[in-house]
Symmetry: D2
Subunit: 155 residues, 4 copies
């Protein structure tokens, strides 16, 4: 289960009017966009390059699975807090969790787990994630993220 | 697991240019929109009223969980086939599955399970789904959908 | 022509990755959404109620025309400044102008004029805009907005 | 003014639920997307290559101005007809017009003029549009499109 206390990175997103559907609530597809925007800010904060060149460069990261639980609706003009953490890094995959809260954390709006795989852009096959990425995450997450190190494979 | 043979309803969606991201592939958030558009066509096909009045009327259906697996990327102008089925109906909840395929079903693009709950619009609490909805689904899905009938509760 | 010096309200919007298209630049449809988000913040700043209840209440505002000039592309993660002003208020219509700039105002990204009409929600016909709206705008814009007062019609 | 009789290319678009806003009508930003989708189908129909490679190849087409008039609202699940025509081709620019209708052409929903400029991708400066493009348009539009030929410049 998602552990609230392990989240250390939060951005604010204000609900825009065109994100609200005919029921007067944020359309379910937009939460997924909020989570993604928050993951990018998280990675930038850690020092990971997130741009078109790096995406088309040595490693290509693809999203392979998204799980989203909708808990409470959000409304137009509400200020949402979107928190992100890295929950694990394995050989060629990693998972990021997100939560959206409102009213100063009182109300949980939605939860997300997004699973990613690192591909070799030449072959489109999974590729061992580099230690530089693991180090940036560990420096921020410390023991809150389960990281399996590639060097462990050596020993 | 999702069983391909149980899907009996399919719509076609052509990828529009603004649905493609900087990697040249359909942005992950759009698959979720495709699945939803297909669910609505499925429900209309079965004879379920899907409009603003019915949504604000006696029963209110909310999406509570989405699971999406991204299998292969889709590109601009490709013709996608989005298939939908109802996999189960319980007391106050139901699940719909979707798959997106291309190249005449040769390539699986994405899979989805969307869990819904029926709410009483006055109290926002789960409400037993009416038999009329179950009957419309059974007429189309026959034994492919696990339906628990409310009348069974009586016996 | 749009007069840069007359703009007194600015919000910041950071370009999100899913707003960028396959050319690596913000898709043209998103500028229109940025301008709208900025108009809503402008109206809120002036004290105008912008919510679902007021929209469905005594007066209904509809957008009747949009003109957008695209000057320079914006890229992922750039910080945009979106400025808004009311340029005129007539009997039942008003126009709002917007500009999007980046690099601290050095580069003009896009310009917009959005024409609105105030409708009577019962008849869907144009309705004279109330003086309370004009007063809120005048208090902010002073002589920078051409306002024709309904009371002038009386005299 | 836009001349209805000159339009010879029409596509159908069904309004999806997430394109409808809290007022129960299609959000203004979506018409712009419908017009663009229709322009791409129009160009494909004429035999113009519209793909990522051609866009990043010898000529790069950019949208420089959009004018949209909103005439009547469209609602969820309505079938819209979006018609497109090329109204003029000049040295390095061209304009495409669009109209959205419903109820078999009885109701005009929106009108659009989209102005484009052809750029040299190396210098990002306007470039004379090739005669091959003009020929494809003339073959379809005949005298309905004002085309100035580059060879005319020679004489």
């Amino acid at each position: 289960m998602i552990d609230r206390k392990k989240f250390k990175h939060t951005i604010q997103i204000r609900v825009r009017n065109y994100e609200v559907d005919w029921q007067g609530i944020v359309h379910n597809g937009n939460y997924l966009l909020y989570f993604e925007a928050a993951r990018i800010e998280y990675l930038k904060h850690l020092g990971v390059k997130v741009d078109m060149k790096s995406i088309q460069g040595e490693g290509k990261v693809v999203l392979v699975r998204n799980e989203i639980d909708y808990e409470s609706p959000a409304y137009f003009d509400e200020l949402l807090e979107v928190s992100t953490r890295m929950s694990f890094i394995r050989d060629s995959s990693f998972a990021m969790e997100g939560i959206i809260e409102k009213n100063g954390g009182e109300i949980l709006v939605a939860r997300n787990v997004a699973y990613h795989v690192w591909l070799d852009p030449r072959t489109d096959r999974p590729k061992t994630i580099g230690d530089d990425f693991r180090k940036l995450v560990q420096a921020f997450e410390s023991t809150d993220c389960e990281i399996s190190w590639t060097s462990m494979n050596v020993w």
